[in-house]
């Protein structure tokens, strides 16, 4: 007993000596309140300004142009509002309770040596069953309503609208770029008609069914403005649909972590008018022509056939030899057929699972980007230049392309020694590289 009193005296004396500090603390409190208020309002203002003024976000999910993307937005936007309301209710309640019921002065006793004086006790409310049931039921009902809408949208997203196009595109993810195999007749069990990389070209307003696969690890295909994402899982084939109501170039990003250069694994969806698309398609089906002898391009082709053709296919000129590279040739197709085998039992050899393939370069110059869409192939591709005009009027990003050929792993992380990514070709002379570029410039 006595001991306790003594102890209490110690607190009290310490407490008094600390009063000076408490003054400081009160001023500080006001300062903190004020500054945090400023900070919060400032932050909110900033956010609003930034979002309103700045619409330059090529990957934004907030301004979809595809049917599926819009359906999703139509579902989530009202839910954002509901969440916003709950947010303000809860935060408002916190602040209001704080403001209304805080006690100050000695009772708040927050000194280092603080000893709490007895103060008033509020009414001791232990609970209230009706209130509890209320705030169990209200969110339940709210969420039930939300889930109905969720389910409706969810199943609607799986619908594919019929169109005059039969086309199905097999999308193959691999470390760290995308390949697209166009099956113009919609039959995915025959070799594709077109093989291209990184840029998925589709006609406007048409539902294009995708068949998403992977050659190595899990990737995820995502063009935010058009639709949500879908994983590319090795050993599985996933259906997905992509559609755009507007023409344009829409960026995408691999969104499942897939190892070293995951961040550099991008892609672009190019949406053309139906006529343009037909034009693009007819061009892609053609093979490349061997450059005239004696030209730089022909010199380049010679380097190419020694240094590059072991991986890269140029239809009509080379077929990949050692790494199961991609192309329309039937031998490489065998690999795909095996890879697509969702049916258990399709045995694959270990090394075909490491992406040994390389982008098909037959129509390299018709693309606007290269190397997993990390680099622009044309410096002016972002301006409203007609996509089909690029080989004609685009300003080739020659510097970057040359650097790429010279030392690709330096330009984009890769594990080339493990058969992933493109190896360095630092032994090439500047002349060789010039010639190579000249050769590739013919690939349109």
């Amino acid at each position: 007993m006595g001991d306790a009193n003594k102890r209490r005296d110690v607190y009290k004396s310490n407490y008094i000596t600390k009063l000076g500090e408490r003054e400081v603390s009160r001023n500080l409190k006001a300062l903190v309140w004020l500054s945090s208020l400023l900070v919060v309002t400032g932050a909110i203002a900033l956010i609003v300004v930034a979002i309103v003024l700045d619409d330059n976000h090529p990957l934004s999910t907030l301004s979809p142009v595809g049917r599926q993307g819009r359906d999703i937005a139509a579902l989530i936007n009202p839910i954002f509002i509901v969440a916003g309301v709950i947010f303000f209710l809860v935060q408002g309640a916190v602040l209001a309770l704080w403001w209304r019921y805080r006690v100050s002065g000695s009772e708040s006793g927050d000194g280092e040596f603080g000893y709490y004086e007895d103060g008033e006790f509020p009414e001791q409310i232990h609970g209230n069953n009706r209130v509890e049931i209320g705030w169990t039921l209200v969110p339940t009902v709210l969420l039930a309503v939300i889930s109905v809408f969720t389910l409706i949208t969810l199943f609607a997203l799986d619908d594919v609208e019929a169109s005059d196009e039969d086309m199905v595109v097999t999308v193959v993810g691999q470390q760290w770029w995308w390949e697209y195999q166009y099956h113009l007749d919609g039959n995915t069990s025959t070799p594709p008609d077109i093989v291209t990389a990184n840029e998925l070209v589709i006609p406007v307003g048409v539902d294009v069914p995708l068949d998403i696969k992977s050659r190595d690890v899990i990737h995820s295909f995502w063009i935010p403005k058009l639709n949500g994402k879908r994983d590319a899982v090795p050993g599985r084939a996933h259906d997905w649909v992509i559609q755009s109501e507007e023409t344009g170039r829409f960026r995408g990003q691999c969104t499942e972590f897939c190892g070293l250069a995951h961040g550099y694994m991008k892609m672009v969806a190019v949406v053309l008018t139906k006529q343009e698309f037909a034009q693009w398609r007819d061009n892609q089906i053609t093979s490349a022509d061997m450059p005239q002898e004696g030209t730089a391009a022909h010199e380049g082709w010679q380097v190419f056939s020694q240094q590059c053709a072991s991986c890269h296919v140029v239809n009509g000129i080379t077929s990949a030899t050692n790494r199961g590279g991609s192309g329309t040739e039937a031998d490489t197709w065998d690999i795909y057929r095996e890879l697509s085998g969702n049916d258990a039992g399709a045995y694959l050899s270990q090394d075909t699972l490491v992406a040994g393939a390389a982008p098909n370069l037959t129509h390299l110059m018709t693309r606007s980007t290269f190397a997993g869409s990390w680099y622009d192939l044309y410096l002016n591709a972002d301006s409203h230049l007609n996509y089909l005009d690029l080989p004609e009027n685009g300003i080739l990003n020659r510097v970057e392309l040359e650097k790429w050929i010279h030392n690709a792993p330096e330009r984009k992380p890769a594990a080339a020694d493990e058969l992933r990514g493109m190896p360095a070709r630092s032994s090439l002379s500047p002349q060789d590289i010039d010639n190579l570029v000249a050769f590739m410039s013919t690939l349109d």
């Binding site: 001991d3 306790a4 102890r7 209490r8 310490n14 400081v24 603390s25 500080l28 903190v32 945090s36 930034a50 700045d54 976000h57 990957l59 934004s60 999703i72 937005a73 579902l75 839910i79 969440a83 809860v90 935060q91 309640a93 916190v94 309770l97 009772e107 708040s108 006793g109 927050d110 000893y115 006790f121 509020p122 409310i125 232990h126 609970g127 209230n128 209130v131 509890e132 705030w135 339940t140 969420l143 969720t150 997203l157 899990i218 995820s220 935010p224 949500g228 879908r230 899982v233 599985r236 972590f257 190892g259 995951h262 961040g263 550099y264 039992g345 270990q350 075909t352 699972l353 490491v354």
Partner: protein
């Protein structure tokens, strides 16, 4: 001491062997190494977790530096992948879980009026085993060169990217083995604590008189108990694949990589509730104390915790909405996920109702607790928007998710745990942390936190993917990333202020001459305040009879004729002062530590060289042998509390297996 033939011959045998005596002494570093005292173990858990928090935080700062500007080149892509992976692993398994374990160890026995946990030696083993796993995981950062062998397949480590084919260095082996070891620690501790709560409550402390924190910790232990074996299976399969070339995730042999995802998330989702429920419990202790009101809707608080625990098992695949499961599965998991908001909302609203018409004292712990209410709600609401499966196909694997989980984990779990540090600090050490510094560090942290993770919502919706080592200027992410990076350094300042507070408060208090703040510095409610601060080794001088919820508070306060609440007794008068040194406690032991070291060696052995593992097995077998043959007490020491050679009927039972 009632002996049987058994003890006699056993202790005889062990004395003949000469080594199996028990360590002595309650001072000095040895007394920490060999302790079996739940409070010391709790403190060690806390200290270790804080250390790992600095490691994980430093990693986070590197992430932020790298992402501060487009085309960042602070660390390369390979290092970046290692950094965010080890950051996630460290923060989840080596920070939040052990920090919660710190509170579980320190407070559970005190809150239920017990002397110790059911199996004190096993408890010590849990800690050393956790530390072994933590050290092993962390050492991956520098073994074989900086970030050369660090796990780099993300904290959920999806197959087949985590296979040897795609991640050929030792990183993922560290992951598999390290998590296996920390898993053993948590599993053992879960069994221990469940038994403690079920079996060792003070007289009259029925289940529904237990503090909310005790309840939440109990639920957490059950979640651990049932979730850990699932990740154990997954990690074993992964380890077999990597070390012994089995085919579980070998797509070429027909495996489906989704199996890993299912197994991981069956564990992983309950895991996130394992992270948050202890913090919920802490908040439920702090808010009533500083509102001068009992917790509003106690039974609903408990029931909603149980409901969260149950529902948490049926929602895991919301992490796999885009994995191609098929629309029916997606639909089912989306709906089940959404409804978890209901019990969680019940908690939030009950806290608000507890504050309603209270007398709110905004001490540092209270600031943290209210911070949780406010910040967790933000994270919870974004969680519900993820549950809307169609829109999650837009959000998943973007920074919108990163924002969500940092709001619930940092803004929920970690703020709660930090609040707990400030709240129970005087109980554990006998002095308070400085309130001024405490509040200042809270505000700095809170502001920094919102500046770091608030912008990530925007970034995510603007399409920034997570786990990308860099981004391009043309993508328009630069501004908010810079804000987030600045914010993260503000957090670091806040953390540094907290550390300074710990340091300077300790120093100041030493200078003042260290009278204890007394048993009950906050005018609080739980039994843990009914004993001296720091809590004496034997916790309570005598057994406590509990007659109602908030027993301690009711002993302090009663009502006068008019029904007004008045003080019935000062805390000092009713609290035990720790003077009863005649209580017998279990003796310290060498073996938990040896066992922990053995397990660590086995771990390294699996990764590097089976001979090391063989050495570990020797240590392990020796430790188990020593453990079993160890006398309940050292026969050579005097018995009594002042000397650490403690011995009692009561505790002997507790260490038969423990």
């Amino acid at each position: 001491m009632s002996t049987t033939q058994g003890t006699i011959s056993a202790s005889l045998a062990t004395r003949l062997l000469g080594v199996f005596s028990r360590p002595q002494g309650s001072e000095g570093w040895k007394s920490w190494l060999f302790t079996v005292d739940h409070k010391r173990i709790g403190i060690m858990y806390g200290a270790a977790a804080l250390f790992f928090f600095l490691v994980g935080g430093a990693e986070a700062l590197f992430i932020r530096l790298q992402l501060a500007t487009p085309n960042g080149s602070v660390i390369g892509a390979g290092t970046y992948n290692g950094v965010f992976t080890i950051h996630g692993v460290t923060m989840v398994f080596l920070v939040v879980m052990p920090m919660a374990a710190a509170f579980a160890n320190y407070l559970l026995p005190l809150q239920i009026g017990a002397r110790d946990v059911a199996f004190p030696r096993l408890n010590a083993f849990s800690f050393w085993c956790f530390l072994a796993g933590g050290v092993l995981l962390t050492s991956s950062i520098f073994i074989g060169g900086w970030f050369q062998n660090v796990p780099d397949a993300g904290w959920f480590n999806y197959a087949p990217n985590s296979g040897v084919l795609f991640s050929p260095h030792k990183g993922v082996d560290f992951y598999a083995v390290g998590l296996q070891i920390t898993g053993i620690a948590s599993l053992v501790s879960a069994v221990n604590l469940i038994v403690t709560v079920l079996n060792m409550r003070a007289k009259g402390m029925s289940l529904f008189r237990m503090p909310v924190l005790t309840w939440m910790l109990l639920i957490t232990q059950f979640l651990l108990l049932f979730a850990l074996p699932v990740i154990t299976v997954a990690l074993f399969l992964l380890m077999f694949d990597r070390l012994w070339e089995s085919n579980f995730f070998n797509v070429a042999a027909g495996a489906d990589p989704l199996l890993w995802q299912h197994l991981f998330w069956i564990f992983g989702h309950p895991e996130v509730y394992i992270l948050i429920l202890p913090a919920f419990g802490i908040v439920s202790e702090i808010i009533p104390t500083f509102s001068r009101k009992p917790i509003f809707g106690y039974h609903f608080m408990v029931a909603s915790g149980i409901a969260i625990g149950f529902m948490g098992w049926g929602v895991w695949a919301h992490h796999m909405f885009t994995s191609g499961m098929g629309p029916l599965s997606v639909a089912a998991f989306a709906v089940s996920t959404m409804f978890i908001a209901v019990p969680t909302g019940v908690k939030i609203l009950n806290w608000l109702a507890t504050m309603y018409r209270g007398r709110l004292r905004f001490t540092t712990p209270m600031l943290y607790a209210v911070g949780v209410v406010s910040m967790f709600t933000i994270g919870g609401l974004s969680g519900v928007t993820h549950a809307i499966a169609p829109s999650d196909t837009q959000q998943t694997d973007t920074y919108y998710i990163v924002a969500h989980f940092h709001y619930v984990i940092f803004g929920g779990a970690l703020l709660g745990l930090f609040g707990g540090f400030h709240f129970w600090w005087p109980k554990a050490f006998g002095y308070k942390l400085n309130e001024l510094w405490g509040k200042a560090s809270f505000w700095v942290m809170l502001i920094g936190f919102n500046f770091t993770f608030g912008p990530m919502h925007i970034l995510g919706l603007q399409g920034m993917s997570r786990r990308i080592a860099t981004y391009q200027a043309s993508e328009g992410f630069a501004f908010w990333n810079m804000v987030a990076t600045i914010g993260s350094f503000v957090i670091a300042v806040g953390v540094a202020m907290f550390l300074w507070n710990v340091f300077s408060s300790t120093r100041n208090w030493r200078r003042v001459g260290r009278p204890s703040v007394g048993p009950d510095p906050w005018d609080a409610r739980g039994l843990e305040w009914m004993t001296a601060s720091p809590a004496p080794e034997h916790n309570f001088d005598s057994d406590i009879q509990v007659d109602r919820f908030d027993e301690f508070w009711h002993r302090k306060y009663g009502r006068d004729e008019k029904g007004k609440i008045v003080r019935a007794a000062r805390a000092e008068e009713i609290a035990h002062d720790g003077s009863n040194t005649n209580v017998h406690l279990p003796s310290p032991s060498y073996w938990p530590l040896v066992l922990g070291v053995g397990i660590m060696l086995v771990g390294y052995g699996l990764i590097f060289n089976l001979w090391i593992a063989a050495l570990g097995v020797v240590a392990l077998v020796g430790a188990i042998y020593g453990w079993c043959l160890e006398p309940a007490d050292d026969p050579d020491t005097a018995h009594g509390h002042d000397h650490a050679g403690r011995n009692s009927l009561e505790d002997e039972e507790a260490i038969t297996v423990g």
